[in-house]
Structure formats: C-alpha cells, structure tokens
C-alpha cells in the first residue's frame, strides 16, 4: 500500500465530505476532481434541516407570543416587536428574532385509538396509519423525504438522535412501516459519526488506519459479492430485504473509504459529557447536531427528545423551588393527564390537578429551554463564508400534541433559522384551524422542487388542500 495520490482535505477550507466522496473509488483521487472540489469549497453553504420532536402537548395560552398591546390577539401576522415571549417560552427570548411562531395549526387526523400511536405514525409523515400500534406509518416522514432527495435512497445519511432510554415510539420512517433507527448514546454517536474527522492535525494518514480501511473495504466487498449472488436467487420481499441490507453495507463501505476530514475552525469532534445548565445528554446531542452539520457529515438531523424523562427531571426546578416528583411517579398519568383534568374526573381533585399543572409547566418551560440551547449552538457555528449556520438551517419544532391533553388542535409550531432565505423569522403567524400538513409541505418545498414526486406524493391529499403555507419567507 502506498500513499501516492492520497489527498488530505485542506485545513481551514470547509470541503464537503460528500464532494470528496462522489466519484472517489478508493483513496486515489484524480486531479480534475480536485479542481472541482476547490470550486465547490467556496460555493454557498448548503441548506440544512433539523427537526425537533417533543411530546405531550402544551398549555398554548402560556406558550404562544403575547401581543404587546395586551388583550386578545386580533391580527394574523405579528412582527417580533409587537409581542413578548410568554411564560413557558421565556427561555427562547434571546432568539426571538430567529424564530417564526406558527399557531392555529391542527392535525386533521380523526381522533380515536391510542392517541400516541396515532400521532407517532401520522404527525410528520402526513399519512394515516396502516394499522394499530406503533411502527405503522403510512409513508416516509419529512426528514427522510428531504434526506432521500439530497443523498438518494440507497445512501441515507440523515441521523436521528434520541434522548432517553429505549422507548417504543418512533416518529421517523424511511417508507411505509419502516422506522429509522435512532441513536442515543452521545459517546457512541461521536465515535461512529465523526470517525473520519481527524483532530490530530497531521497531514499524513496513519498507516494502521490505512491498513484497517483496506481490510474493511475488501472484507465488505466479499460480503457484497456473495450477498449479491444470494439476492438474485431470492424472490419478492426476501430479495428486497437482502438488497436493503446490502445497500446499508455499501454505505458503511463508502463511509470507511471516505477521506479523512481535517478539523477546522468550524468543524471538529464535539465534546460530549460536558457540564451545562441543561441536562448534559440533551445538550450533548445538540452539540453533536451542530458539529455534524458544520462538518457536513449530514444535512438532515432529527432530535427526538420526547418528554422530560427520568434523567432530565433531576435538572428541572419548579417555581416554588421544589424538585419534580420522584421517578416513580407515573408522569404520563399523574402529571400530563391530570394537568388537563377537571376535579372529579378520574380521581382528580383541586389540589392534585394544581400540583400536576405546576409540574407540567416546569417541565414544559425547561424543554423549551433545551430547544433554545440547540438554537444557540447552531447559531454559534460559523460557515466557511463567515455566515452563521443558522442562516442556512431551518429547525422545525414539532410537538406530539396541541393545546389539549392528547388533543390534535392548535399545535405549538416554530421554525428557527432562515434556511438560506426561505424562512423569514422574527414573526408570529397566527392561523385558525388549518391543517398542519400545509406547514410540512412548506418545509418540504424549501428543500425539494414542488414538482418532484416526493413532494406531490407526500401526505394524504385531503390534508394538503391549500398547499404550502404562503408567507413563511
């Protein structure tokens, strides 16, 4: 093995790893390709997409912006200087001008069944569930549609970072009934995702690393050769299943043969397990998301944060200074359900409902804070052209439910960032009773031509009536 022809990425330039990958059959790169790369390096930064998923609804009256004039809102569009942040969204105040608030959007699916299962299958896929239970989405979720458009179906590069212990829900689907795996261990994610990012600063690759890559490459080639021979003998779903597996191995193989990315001022391995005012796991996942975008390891990330899990509850303080109830409390039943109960319902009393509300508010405010923390990390990253990563990113905030307990009306939606100019933040768009699907379409239209089959075929047509929301940009 010689190193002849091995071209390390240049320090300081924000070379797209993708552009290095494309057309590179191995470690040797031809010169014309390099030139193409130089041109690419100074092109405008690409558009990125982040989806943040929280669960368990919102007290909308305490979350949505408060018009400065006071009283009930009367307009359909407010500029940032016409409203104040509300009590539950107070931690987002530093990013008021980076945020576009959207209210009055409903999930038009019929209620019934287990509300959680319904929503996990439907909310960001726009499709009705194919059956009862989890893992029954009718189609792909928007993050996967966008990723497929950027990277192709055979080499999905989107990542789904998940907070908390294993849980059975799933929001991201690559296709009907096909949940996409999530990763939750920050240290493991850094190890896998940032495998090719070298922080050593040396421009000569480590011979052991080169040997290791050669070994893996050839080993995987043999798996592929024998796998292909088996695949052709199988029929129907069996064949497709082996094909999907071999495609994933192909992606692994591409990743292993990708040139080493040299850390730069904007791209480096994120530090995890750092201390932070926020629960370090959520903060770590946000740091990972920021660096993965900065290094262009992916352009599509979902942060599936769920609700305040047991680990996070230790960090949350109520206004009265008391901690949240112990981990043994049934958060879902005794806090979320109860917070919306009336006295007499299901054992609800004036005092235990007030208690549940206080717990719910403390957790909701804190979760909004974790979102603010993410915005801050994205905003702080400088692209090669000196602009902020947030200028080229849209962060879509999605909550499982709206203003009622397990209810499908009036969801708390927000978009942070400008997505390269497609979004004009610093506003509140106040709709009434329109399908949330139209927001998903707007988001898709930011990344995909509206004539693309992935766009025209997205979601249930009946919920798409009216098309993408106007006035986001």
């Amino acid at each position: 093995m010689s190193f002849k022809g091995f071209v390390p990425a240049r320090k300081g330039s924000s070379l797209s790893r993708r552009s290095l990958l494309r057309g590179s059959g191995g470690v040797a790169l031809a010169l014309p390709f390099l030139e193409a790369m130089e041109r690419k390096a100074f092109a405008a930064p690409p558009k990125r997409f982040i989806l943040v998923y929280h669960t368990q609804g919102m007290f909308m009256d305490e979350w949505q912006p408060k018009p400065k004039a006071g009283g009930a809102p009367t307009k359909t569009e407010y500029a940032a200087d016409e409203y104040d942040m509300n009590s539950l969204s107070a931690d987002l105040a530093p990013y008021k001008n980076d945020l576009l608030f959207l209210t009055g959007l409903d999930n038009k699916i019929s209620p019934g069944g287990n509300a959680h299962e319904v929503v996990f299958n439907n909310l960001i896929t726009g499709k009705k569930a194919t059956g009862q239970g989890f893992f029954q989405s009718g189609g792909p979720s928007i993050d996967q549609v966008i990723s497929t458009k950027i990277y192709g179906a055979a080499t999905p590069r989107s990542r789904i970072l998940h907070l908390g212990p294993n849980s059975s829900w799933h929001v991201c689907y690559s296709a009907k009934n096909s949940p996409v795996s999530r990763e939750s261990n920050p240290a493991e994610i850094v190890k896998n995702l940032f495998m090719g990012v070298s922080t050593g600063g040396a421009s000569t690759p480590d011979p052991l690393l080169v040997k290791e890559r050669l070994r893996n490459q050839r080993m995987l080639d043999a798996v592929k050769a024998n796998g292909d021979a088996l695949r052709t003998k199988l029929g129907g779903d069996d064949r497709r299943r082996v094909e999907a597996y071999l495609n994933d191995l192909g992606e692994l193989s591409n990743g292993l043969s990708a040139p080493i990315i040299q850390a730069s001022a904007s791209c480096g391995k994120p530090t995890v397990n750092g201390s932070d005012a926020y629960d370090p796991r959520s903060s770590d996942l946000s740091s990972i998301a920021a660096m993965a975008l900065a290094c262009d390891l992916t352009r599509v990330i979902t942060l599936d944060f769920g609700g305040p899990d047991n680990g996070m509850r230790n960090y949350i303080k109520r206004p009265d200074g008391m901690p949240l109830p112990a981990a043994s409390t049934d958060w879902h039943q005794d806090v979320v359900h109860r917070a919306w109960q009336k006295p007499g319902e299901f054992g609800g009393t004036v005092s235990n409902i007030a208690e549940a509300k206080m717990n719910f508010r403390a957790a909701a405010k804190y979760m909004q804070g974790t979102f603010a923390n993410l915005i801050g990390k994205i905003k702080a990253v400088r692209e090669a052209d000196g602009s902020s990563l947030l200028d080229h990113t849209a962060i879509l905030y999605v909550n499982e439910f709206g203003e009622e307990t397990h209810g499908f009306k009036n969801y708390p939606f927000m978009i942070a960032g400008k997505a390269g100019g497609a979004i004009r933040p610093g506003r509140w768009l106040r709709h009434t009773g329109i399908s949330h699907q139209r927001l998903l379409l707007s988001m898709l239209a930011t990344y995909i031509p509206t004539t693309d089959p992935a766009f025209t075929g997205f979601g249930e047509p009946e919920w798409n009536v009216g098309g993408p929301l106007s006035n986001l940009g």
């Binding site: 069944g113 009862q132 024998n226 069996d238 319902e345």
Partner: protein, 538 residues
C-alpha cells in the same frame, strides 16, 4: 412420544374439536417469508459457531427488537435498520478478533497452502452459512484471503474471511432456496432442503444454529424423513437450549418487559427492579415447567398452583419461605387456592397494571388477545379514550373503569374486554391478593370480581379469577390460541387464513395427547408447513 410417569388427568382438557369439513383434503398453507436472526439468536449462534461463551455482550448495543404482533422473530418486523448494520459490523469484528481460526487449519500456519485455506473456508463456511457453500461463494472468500499481502498475518487474513461470513446475509438471514428434488406436494410448493430444515428445527427449538448431529442428518438427507425429524425433536426437546428458547417464548408472550415500568412507591414501597426480575423469572420458569416438564402441560399452564417464590416475592403471594432460605434462593412451593395457573401469577398481574391501580382493561385485553387470540384492535375513530366521564368521589377502580366503558361507542368492545379483567380485581397493581382497595379519595372499598364471559366457547358467569381460569382451561378456543402462539414462534410469522386447517390439525393432535407440548412440537416440526414452502414469485 414421552411416556408420562403418572396417568394424564384429562378432566381439564377442553373437548376435542374436529377440524371443520372444509379442511378435508386441503393442503393450503401460508408463505414462509425469510427472516433474520434475532438479537438473541445472533448471540447464540456466534456462541456456538465460534465457541464464544459470552456472546450476549456482542448484541448488548444492538437496537432492541421492534415491538409488533407475534414474537421478535416475526419476519414482518425483522428488517435490519441502518444502525443495526453498523452494530453488526462492529460485533462481527469483535467476534472474529476473539476467534483463532488457525486452530481449525489442517496445515501448519507456517506452510499454508491454497488447498488448506479452501478446506477451512468450506468447513467453517458450512457451519456459518448453515449449508455447504456454492463454488462461487468459496471462490470469493478465497480471493479475499489472497488479496492481502505480507503486511497481514495468516490469522488476520483468516479473521477477515470469518468476519466476512459473520456479516453476510447468508449468516444473518434464514434464506431458503428450497430443494426441487424433495417430492410429496403438488405444484406451487417446493420442499425445504435438508439443511434449511435443520435450521428451522434448531432455531425453533433452540434459538441457535444446528449442532453436529443435525448437520449430519442434513448432510445425509435423512432429515427429509418425518420419522427422523421426530427422533431429532425427541433428542433436542430436553436439552437446556430448548428450555432457554421456551423461556424466551414465555417472556415475550406474556410481555414481561412491562414489569420494568415503575410502581407508585408511596403505595408499594417494597417494589423494585429485583422484585420485577424475580417475577419475570417466575413467569419463565412456570411456563418452562408447563411446556417442557409437564406431560399434561395444558393443565399445568392453566391450573397448576406451584409458585417459584423468592424472599422478595413471598410477601406478594402471602406465603412464608422455610426458615433458613437464602435471600437469593428460589423455592418451588404450592401457592394458596386463589392462584391457579399462569393467569394468577404476579408476573402477569403486576405487568398488566398501572403504577397504583390494577388495569382491568389491560388484563382483559391480554386474556382476549393472548389466550383467546381475539384481536379487538384499537378503539374506533371518534371514541374518547383519554378523558373519562366524571365519577363520584370514592369511586372504586372498577367503577371508574366501568363509567368509561359504558359509553355507547365503547361498549361493544369493552363488554368483551372488561369482565375478564375485573375477575382479577382482587389482585392489586403488584399482584398481591386483596379483597379491598383504597380509593383515590382514601376510602376503603370491597373489590368486585364477578362478571360474565361472552363471545367465547365457554361463556358464562364467574365470581372470581379462579372460576374464570377454570372456564378458560376447558375452552377449545383458548387451547387453539396457545397452539397458535407456538405456530407463530415456530414459523416466525403470524398465522394467515390459509393456515387455519394446519392449526386445527395441530390443535387436534395436542388435545388428543392430553396437552403434551412435546407432542405439539413434534407435530409442528413434521407438518407440511414446516417441510414445504409455497414457491415465491417475482
């Protein structure tokens, strides 16, 4: 098949139900979709292939198996997510690195010939792919070996070959190509090859790859005779690997992962992870004894009062352990009369309960779904599932749940679900027997465990859980359902309408044996569906 030591008491067995007339002369059967090895099967297989005892560590970071209907080996839910592929890559490397392939070389490491490498590839490959390699497969692997220069040692090169096999779809999926030379069924079906049959048997009974003897009868094709399959089931049945597989079946069937959910520690201060673990182990042991050890397994499953009690679970059962029992010991002992059969074990009762109160709806649904195979599905569109109607202060758990289910759009299903759930209302949220409950507003009230079972072949009134369980024990529908559960586990898929006659046949055989699961297993393994597959199109 196995001679019982005592005559079988058939009084608990349901009446024999003949397969319906439309099954006469019919040989339709559902498909045999390819499935992958589950996380547990992967670990077991690496253990046996590489003689690596601690193989479960390899899969500890694999994504959990998807929740779905049936069992975790269900082909429908066994796609490999991207993250698992990454983890499989890492695990295969760790496993290959920990294995010394040079020990299996028939030549000295210092004088390795191509023939010698080829022999290794064919011998090891037959076990890894669970069938002989094709010539092309062998050539690809030999080329892989030869592609490395002197910077790689012989061991490293062979390890790479081993890793390539561990990562192959041949290893990770149970792909079946069939054997055209196997006859015995009409057009549209093809025989499963003897090696494929060996894998079907070993993963059904043992959750792992075939052993040397199974490979030998596969190689000789003797396994294509049903009498040889019978012999093999008989040989394999009492192996510890069958017990392990049955325990795996048991905890999945009864959803024992539910026990990991927390309880309200203000009400149940003694509840903790160790109690949960002991209850899960008891569930597995109780079902293992019913399936493997009891020749009247059906009766045992439905009515036996033996418990497997620890110092932590004795208070739940209201029993005392013999003095001097070690804190970690499990004692087999008779439980009180209120505890007949699995459905009165705390593993079930605590698993299907909320943090503070029992959940008659979850318990009733479990009985309907897992013991009667009635899938009632989710509430209909428009049903309000979250906001219950108001009930007066001091209402009991049953009154609150009843108010919820009395609404017209709820009633159609809940009149089926709730009564069998209410039968267990005398067992609290951790499975302790109590005839009273403390309501949410602090009053003490008597529980009501009476009700009517409808929509089954044993409809009638019951006063308590014991009576309900007694009715289910005599239900042909329940017996068919338990047979169906094993069908799902053995075949790695849910049953389809085309399987109805096969399941009726299996149930008839099981019933006639007095509920002997060894007989059921042999019947499953020799059934047409196990030995043939519909030809896959496109």
């Amino acid at each position: 098949m196995v001679t019982p030591e005592v005559p079988i008491d058939l009084s608990v067995n349901p009446p024999k139900v003949e397969p319906p007339d439309e099954c006469k002369g019919v040989s339709r059967m559902g498909p045999s979709p390819m499935r992958r090895l589950t996380n547990l099967e992967y670990a077991n297989t690496v253990r046996d292939l590489l003689a690596r005892p601690n193989s479960r560590e390899l899969v500890a970071s694999f994504p959990a198996e998807g929740a779905g209907h049936g069992f975790d080996n269900n082909a429908d839910t066994s796609a490999i997510p991207k993250l698992r592929t990454q983890k499989m890559f890492e695990a295969s490397r760790v496993a290959a690195d920990g294995f010394d392939p040079t020990k299996e070389l028939k030549c000295a490491v210092t004088a390795v010939t191509e023939t010698c490498v080829r022999e290794f590839i064919n011998a090891f490959g037959t076990r890894a792919y669970r069938r002989p390699l094709t010539a092309d497969e062998g050539t690809v692997l030999l080329k892989l070996y030869n592609s490395f220069g002197a910077e790689f040692t012989v061991g490293e090169k062979l390890d790479t070959v081993v890793q390539s096999m561990l990562l192959s779809p041949q290893f990770n999926f149970m792909a079946e190509l069939g054997d055209e030379s196997v006859i015995g069924k009409e057009d549209g079906y093809v025989g499963v090859s003897s090696f494929e049959l060996a894998s079907r048997l070993s993963y059904f009974l043992w959750g792992t790859m075939p052993d040397a003897e199974l490979f030998a009868v596969a190689q000789s094709k003797a396994l294509l005779n049903t009498s040889v399959i019978q012999e093999q089931v008989k040989r394999m049945f009492f192996d510890p690997r069958t017990r392990e597989s049955v325990r795996n079946f048991a905890v999945q069937w009864t959803e024992q992962d539910r026990l990991k959910r927390t309880k309200d520690l203000k009400v149940f201060p003694s509840w903790n992870d160790l109690v949960a673990r002991d209850l899960e182990a008891e569930t597995a042991t109780f079902i293992e004894k019913s399936i493997v050890d009891a020749r009247d397994g059906w009766k045992n499953l439905m009515t036996d009062r033996r418990g497997f009690v620890t110092s932590r679970t004795a208070p739940i059962y209201g029993v005392s352990l013999p003095s001097g029992t070690a804190a970690t010991a499990t004692v087999e002992m008779m439980l009180p009369d209120t505890r007949p059969g699995f459905l009165t074990r705390a593993g079930f009762l605590a698993g299907f309960a909320q943090a503070k109160y029992p959940s008659p709806i979850q318990r009733g649904m479990f009985v309907r779904r897992e013991f009667l195979c009635q899938n009632l599905g989710a509430p209909p569109p428009g049903a309000e599932t979250q906001m219950p109607p108001p009930t007066p202060a001091g209402a009991t758990n049953r009154q609150i749940k009843t108010a919820h289910s009395q609404q017209p759009q709820c009633k159609a299903c809940h009149q089926l679900i709730d009564p069998p759930g209410f039968a267990f209302e005398s067992f609290d949220a951790i499975g302790k027997n109590s005839l009273t409950e403390v309501t949410e507003s602090g009053q003490t009230a008597m529980v009501d465990t009476s009700g009517s079972l409808i929509g089954t072949d044993v409809d009638g009134d019951f006063n308590d859980a014991g009576e309900l369980v007694g009715m289910l024990a005599r239900s042909a529908e329940a017996q068919t359902c338990v047979v169906t559960q094993w069908f799902r586990y053995a075949r790695g898929r849910l049953e389809l309408p085309d399987d109805a006659c096969a399941i009726a046949d299996l149930t008839g055989t099981f019933n006639a044996s007095g509920g002997d699961f060894a007989v059921l297993f042999a019947a499953l393994a020799t059934s047409d569906g196990f030995r043939f597959r519909p030809v896959t199109t496109n």
